[in-house]
Symmetry: C3
Subunit: 207 residues, 3 copies
């Protein structure tokens, strides 16, 4: 993997670790809880992806990912010591960037293993959203990502854009940029204009 | 694997996907939530089994399983658009069939890896019930399968029947049919006659 | 692995299975729920560790671990049939011993794969605490281990002691004993003197 990709990946890890740390604060957890939630949020999706694809799990032989989690967690703690407020708007934008990149990493890794495009899109989305899903399950929240937020859908859009561009024989690097931009832009629009998915309502005999 | 086994397997996936979709409706989830819950319910048990046994995860190189999930999910959505009621009795019967087959798949795959009969029974049961267990955990329900329903026990019975028949040198195909029928029939009886397991009650100093 | 290590390992499994069984009682589960919770508590952390490190999962080819789980679960059920109280103080001490040993097993296995010390400490802690964490998630409790109990931290202390002793070229067996004693003693002190970690409180705009 080229060096700049590695740096964007680490930046995504930092952002997701921040979101895990904030959740740990919300649930009145201790320092260990912060580390666990930050790690699970930042590395849970990729860990599951690598285990299912039977690839070496990305963080076991490269401690830089773990350092990135600690930077995200300790940075958040330090910030909240000083300010007692958190720039949530900034976090949403950074999170959109992390999501776009995690999605791309999942797509790439799955396609390298030789799966079909549909399955690759599933792996991209899994990489992007499962960390947050596990975070929510540990914290006893019904995962937000399943309840109307236009979040995972932006990963699917990015994946479809990648597959479509690739089917048109677009250059690989352009495909990657198209996938990232599609996810990033659609997620930022969803945040800005409060786009939501419709939620389903149970039939009468199931309520 | 012979072709008809593959078709029964896909039928089991469809049924479990329907049950995941209905749960997503119950929890007011969105379209992505439906896909996640349907996938997790239908493929979670088998995925965990393959990861623990270090086998290639069954769905990554065969998209037909994923299509079966989508058929179950979209079929349920279409049905509920039209009728606003769901044939729960039909679902229970189909679910019993899916359970019987998933249990058999888990038994077979574990025995092929060379584990002992006790561990193979555990893998059969895991294949049958862990998808539903993960579904319930994501949805913040204490898993029904742990609370008195005679469900997982029918997998154990099927596994014991398989191991017993196999110890008596019964032909492999007959063993498989015995295992499936044991699980299927005991599950249908449990549904029909409301058989339940006793639940435990905590000792006084634990309450 | 030498024989006495195997026996201590099995003793740890029995103790963790007891704690899973008691939780199943607390949640009014049935016999299958007892087996699942006892298994997950006792073998969940090690299973996750082996899957992530891509090692053969420790219990699939050695049924003795599964028998240890059954001994812990059935012993607890038998005890509660007779006495209706449970010696929780004894359980806390035995649990500290199990924790110390699970932590050591995780450290050793991770170092054998060639990971860096920081990652090895993470694997030791994961082996010690993830079983209990999954148990709590299944039972819809916010995991106690994340909420101020000085529990996981004793694993980290044991790991740091191991790494420090090993950096000073201390004999491997002495390193192992130092790690176990550090975790065991710090955990027992935490129980005896009610040591707790501070929990965090959310900033105002997150509440």
């Amino acid at each position: 993997m080229s060096l700049w990709l590695h740096w964007i990946d680490l930046a995504g890890i930092v952002v997701f670790a921040i979101s895990g740390t904030l959740m740990a604060y919300k649930k009145h957890m201790d320092g260990f809880g912060v580390v666990v939630l930050a790690s699970v949020t930042a590395m849970g999706g990729g860990t599951l992806r690598d285990m299912i694809l039977d690839l070496p799990v990305f963080w076991i032989h490269d401690p830089s990912f773990f350092y990135a989690v600690l930077i995200g967690a300790l940075g958040t703690i330090a910030w909240l010591r000083i300010s007692h407020r958190f720039p949530l708007k900034f976090l949403l934008i950074a999170d959109a960037l992390g999501l776009a990149f995690f999605n791309l990493m999942g797509l790439q890794k799955a396609l390298n293993v030789g799966v079909t495009p549909l399955i690759a899109i599933a792996f991209g989305t899994m990489t992007g959203v499962f960390g947050g899903l596990i975070r929510d399950v540990i914290c006893r929240e019904v995962p937000l990502v399943l309840k109307g937020e236009l979040y995972a859908t932006t990963c699917i859009l990015g994946g479809v854009a990648y597959v479509a561009a690739s089917a048109l024989n677009v250059n690989l690097h352009i495909c990657m940029i198209i996938a990232m931009l599609t996810t990033l832009v659609s997620r930022l629009f969803a945040v800005r204009y409060h786009w939501h998915l419709n939620v389903f309502h149970p039939p009468k005999n199931l309520d």
